[in-house]
């Protein structure tokens, strides 16, 4: 049976929880960032322990292997430079044509490199914390990506760290389009509770002609994500809403389980 101190404690905790639940969202966000700030000293500890583990791994790599890797990277660098020259020409031509047609000029992306320092401790959301904050110019809703593809968007910003909502989280929806003949558009939605590699793409038209392997990119609609960022590829699709709509399963291009370094698009 509960005794008097139990009832008092229960009353206090319920009252406190109700007060926190009913705080204005801005105050709650500040409160959250303030409490999260207590963990800041431990961020350095975690990253230094990871670096120590990497350094220990580096010591066992032979010189020959390193030289081979340098040679491979040199070749890749030369290939990328040639590709960049081609792209530069194409983007210049694109800008001239846009000017001739009177279209708005596309601004090139500015990106900032960030390191993933913490992951979501619970199992029902998909978020990570990165080591850039408002002092680095980060704002809410800025897109986050890796060289493989889109990762998500910034959802809250502290002074020195920020929370990123990953693709597949229920609060991270992305307007996307399939690179097929009909350029079918839809919304990237949630993933399953266990498998973060795949997400569902909904709101596709019932007549959408999707095939396995079709690339999925951002459409640019919605105002958060710029167009043409790679999201993933279509795995399979099925009819939904009595054939009025189609739902596709998309395999994400970026590996969200192994995120270490990401890029944030800043204005």
């Amino acid at each position: 049976m509960l005794r008097r101190p139990h009832y008092i404690a229960l009353g206090l905790v319920v009252l406190l929880t109700l007060v926190i639940f009913n705080l204005p969202s801005r105050t709650t966000a500040r409160f959250k960032l303030g409490i999260g700030g207590l963990f800041l000293p431990l961020f350095g500890l975690a990253s230094s322990s990871q670096q120590a583990a990497l350094a220990a791994g580096d010591r066992v790599i032979s010189r020959g292997e390193l030289l081979r890797e340098i040679e491979g990277l040199r070749r890749e660098n030369q290939q990328l430079r040639i590709q960049a020259m081609q792209t530069e020409g194409a983007s210049g031509e694109n800008a001239r044509l846009r000017q001739l047609l009177g279209w708005q000029r596309q601004a090139p992306w500015k990106v900032k490199s960030a390191r993933v320092v913490l992951r979501e401790p619970s199992n029902w959301w998909r978020t990570v914390q990165i080591n850039l904050g408002s002092r680095d110019g980060l704002r809410v809703n800025q897109p986050v990506l890796t060289v493989e593809g889109l990762v998500g968007r910034v959802s809250s910003v502290g002074l020195t760290s920020s929370q990123v909502l990953l693709l597949g989280d229920p609060d991270c929806k992305v307007s996307a389009q399939v690179e097929n003949a009909t350029r079918d558009a839809g919304i990237i939605g949630t993933s399953g509770p266990l498998n973060s590699e795949f997400v569902e793409m909904g709101y596709l038209s019932g007549s959408a002609n999707l095939k396995s392997g079709h690339a999925v990119i951002t459409s640019g609609n919605g105002g958060i994500y710029p167009p043409n960022i790679r999201i993933g590829t279509v795995v399979d699709s099925r009819a939904a809403e009595y054939g009025l709509a189609t739902v596709a399963r998309v395999k994400l291009a970026a590996n969200l389980n192994a995120l270490e370094d990401v890029w944030v698009i800043v204005p």
């Binding site: 049976m1 509960l2 005794r3 101190p5 139990h6 404690a9 229960l10 206090l12 905790v13 319920v14 406190l16 929880t17 926190i20 639940f21 705080l23 709650t28 409160f31 959250k32 960032l33 409490i35 999260g36 207590l38 963990f39 431990l42 975690a46 320092v117 913490l118 992951r119 979501e120 401790p121 619970s122 199992n123 029902w124 959301w125 998909r126 978020t127 914390q129 959802s155 929370q163 909502l165 597949g168 989280d169 229920p170 609060d171 949630t190 993933s191 399953g192 509770p193 266990l194 498998n195 389980n257």
Partner: protein, 187 residues
Amino acid sequence: MGDCSMNWLHALFVLITAFLAVFWEAAFSGVRHLVGVQIDLLPALMVYASLCAGITTVVLLAVLGGLWFDSLSANPMGVSVLPLFVIGLVIHAKRELILRDQGFAQAVLGFAASAAAPVMTLLLLFTTRHTPLFGWGTLWQLAVMSAGGAVATPICFEFFGWLDRALVHPRATQTSFRADREIRRGR
């Protein structure tokens, strides 16, 4: 198994361990990579605290542990506090009936607490109109979290028992010897 002599220093150890446990859950993903689920250590700590500490420590652990956890998570602030406290309160109220020195009893309580905490948190999230990731995979998550809690709880008792022996001065015990009842043998 762990000795349950609780003082303010011991309560402080529990809170520091909770803080580090929350950080470990967010910083290290070894278990998540292995089984696809992150284990929550706060219910195991709550079982220990509710069996060995006063109601004040239970309240502090629920409030601080829950807020620390929510601050690093996308959970709304305060949603983890109530489930942790309910677990602590129920065990604390019935602790006279529990064989807390038995490893099996600790493991069973850890299993039940680690299953109940996420279920209650999910219920609260749905009640407050949030839409967490939920599906058949959630059953696997609950199974892994419960098994993790069953393993972690006896380890908690061992750890705090060791800390207790290492850092806290043992209580002075009264001997049964009484000088006035000594039988003096004479010739």
